[in-house]
Amino acid sequence: MSFERFLGKKYPETWEDLPLAGVVPWPGNTEEVDTSAWRTFKPVINQDKCIRCRLCWVYCPDGAILEVDEEYTNSKGRKFKITFKVDYVHCKGCGICAYECPVKAIDMVPEER
């Protein structure tokens, strides 16, 4: 039962494939973890209200706010070069972004599956 045996397969299916003692033998693996199942409320950004202050991006503890190069013109005719979006695979629904948003552009809406 040498260690090499466990490295052949990236994702184990049974205990036999599992790396010894459950060590994770490749770095950066948390990126692959889907934490969306933890959510009961999900943040929804109102792009029209958003002033692109980036505070949600700063405060999100999971890096789940994405800054995207996408132009946007709001209803008052103001033009932005970037857009903030939510990465729903990693967002855990803590609501910190909604709390910190200075213009209340983020709504926490119940998760419906």
Binding site: M1, S2, F3, P12, T14, W15, L18, P19, L20, A21, G22, V23, V24, P25, W26, P27, N29
Partner: protein, 415 residues
């Protein structure tokens, strides 16, 4: 022929020159020296203190090139050797009684992380009340922690068992922490002859494996140790441990066979004494077994067919061997020096033996004896009494449904 004789003579002389007088504690430290441990972290606790002292001395005078970590508690000692083992180092620690209890949380971490930590345990009673003398309460408290547990009967066994412990613990098919016991004071502080094995021979037996044969912390190959094991994988990781425990007997046997081939001393999972024609037998552990042997000798003189089974490897439990050894006896007694409070019977070893026989349909009169708690002296005549009790049970065909306590100052009937 003469050449052979001469060679034998020379060999005998060489062996003689390796014979020293040593306490159990020093034997343990010398074993750690001879397997060339890289890291030792030991918090001194009675009656194990001399192990910590001796290791420090060996390192200070250059006999052992190891890192000694001065820790502030046993919890830290165990943590330190687990971490050191995780980098691929060969590690050693030692403890006793309350110290083992303070390590308790880390005992599970060592086995769960599959780190081949090797430890010497000078067995001692648990508080309260404070008691520094020998019994097996501490060893029994770690029986379900996923460690391999090996009991020693004399000073030589302490040394030999520890060397084998490295062979076993570090084997790629096992990778489980291993503890070797030495009865507090009875072995830890008693001077007996000890035959040392030259270090190069020890190292060619318990080979230091190159880095990377098992997962280790390595800056070039980053990996995470001890991540969260959520319900979706925790169970499977425990199954891995269980399977390693089931694999261990094969390696333990291999270790003993190889040890005998090289150094001439033979070790089994159990030791049978006068069991060939025994009608009544007592099972026991550690140095207590010597006492039972003495009782067997006395009874044999009287014509009583008594026998003894000593358990050397306590975890994984050698159930098959024990069942086979006890197959033909008419009654079985188990002498425990520890208590399983509130158990169906109070002897922890008894519970193991009883279930071993029960699941194999071996129904025979049994008795659980407890004696020697907290260093209470056990006398041969008391063990003889136990054997007499077993003869009675063999005649009546009935088991004792309650534990029998020997050597207690008592006004009322305890059983």
């Amino acid at each position: 022929m003469a050449a052979v004789e001469l060679k034998e003579k020379q060999e005998a002389k060489a062996r003689q020159s390796r014979r020293i007088a040593a306490k159990g504690n020093h034997a343990a430290a010398l074993a750690a020296r001879d397997v060339d441990v890289d890291v030792a972290a030991i918090y001194p606790i009675t009656p194990q203190v001399q192990i910590a002292e001796k290791i420090a001395e060996l390192v200070a005078n250059g006999e052992l090139d190891a890192e000694v970590i001065h820790v502030e508690s046993e919890h830290s000692a165990m943590s330190a050797v687990i971490a050191a083992a995780a980098t691929g180092a060969r590690v050693f620690t030692a403890t006793s009684s309350q110290g083992l209890e303070l390590m308790h949380e880390m005992l599970y971490i060592a086995s769960g992380l599959r780190q081949p930590v090797v430890m010497a345990l000078a067995t001692r009673a648990l508080s309260a009340p404070i008691n520094i003398w020998n019994d097996y309460s501490d060893a029994m408290s770690m029986r379900d922690t996923g460690w391999i547990i090996i009991f020693s009967e004399n000073v030589q066994e302490v040394y030999d068992n520890l060397i084998q412990a490295y062979y076993i613990a570090e084997h790629p098919d096992v990778l489980l922490p291993t503890v070797v016991t030495l009865d507090g004071y009875i072995l830890s502080h008693t001077v007996e002859p000890l035959e040392l094995i030259p270090r190069d021979e020890v190292l060619s037996y318990a080979v230091k494996r190159p880095r990377g044969y098992r997962p280790v912390l390595d800056p070039d190959k980053p990996m995470t140790f001890g991540p969260v094991g959520a319900p979706n994988w925790y169970y499977e990781i425990k199954i891995q441990q269980i399977m390693a425990m089931r694999e261990a007997p094969r390696v333990i046997e291999e270790a003993a066979r190889e040890f005998e081939k090289r150094f001439g001393r033979r070790y089994g999972f159990i030791e049978e004494y006068m069991m060939d024609d025994a009608e009544v037998a007592i099972v026991s552990l550690g140095a207590t077994a010597s006492l039972v042997k003495a009782a067997v000798n006395r009874l044999r003189e009287e014509g009583v067919k008594a026998g003894m089974v000593k358990i050397r490897v306590y975890r994984p439990f050698p159930a098959e061997q024990i069942a086979k050894a006890l197959e033909n006896v008419a009654a079985v007694g188990v002498l425990d020096r520890a208590v399983a409070f509130g158990g169906p019977l109070e002897g922890p070893l008894f519970l193991d033996i009883a279930s071993t026989l029960a699941v194999r349909g071996m129904v025979k009169p049994m008795a659980s004896f407890i004696h020697g708690l907290g260093g209470r002296d056990i006398f041969v005549k008391e063990v003889v009494e136990m054997f007499k009790k077993l003869q009675e049970l063999a005649r009546s065909g009935r088991s004792e449904t309650r534990t029998l306590f020997y050597g207690v100052k008592s006004r009322t009937k305890l059983n």
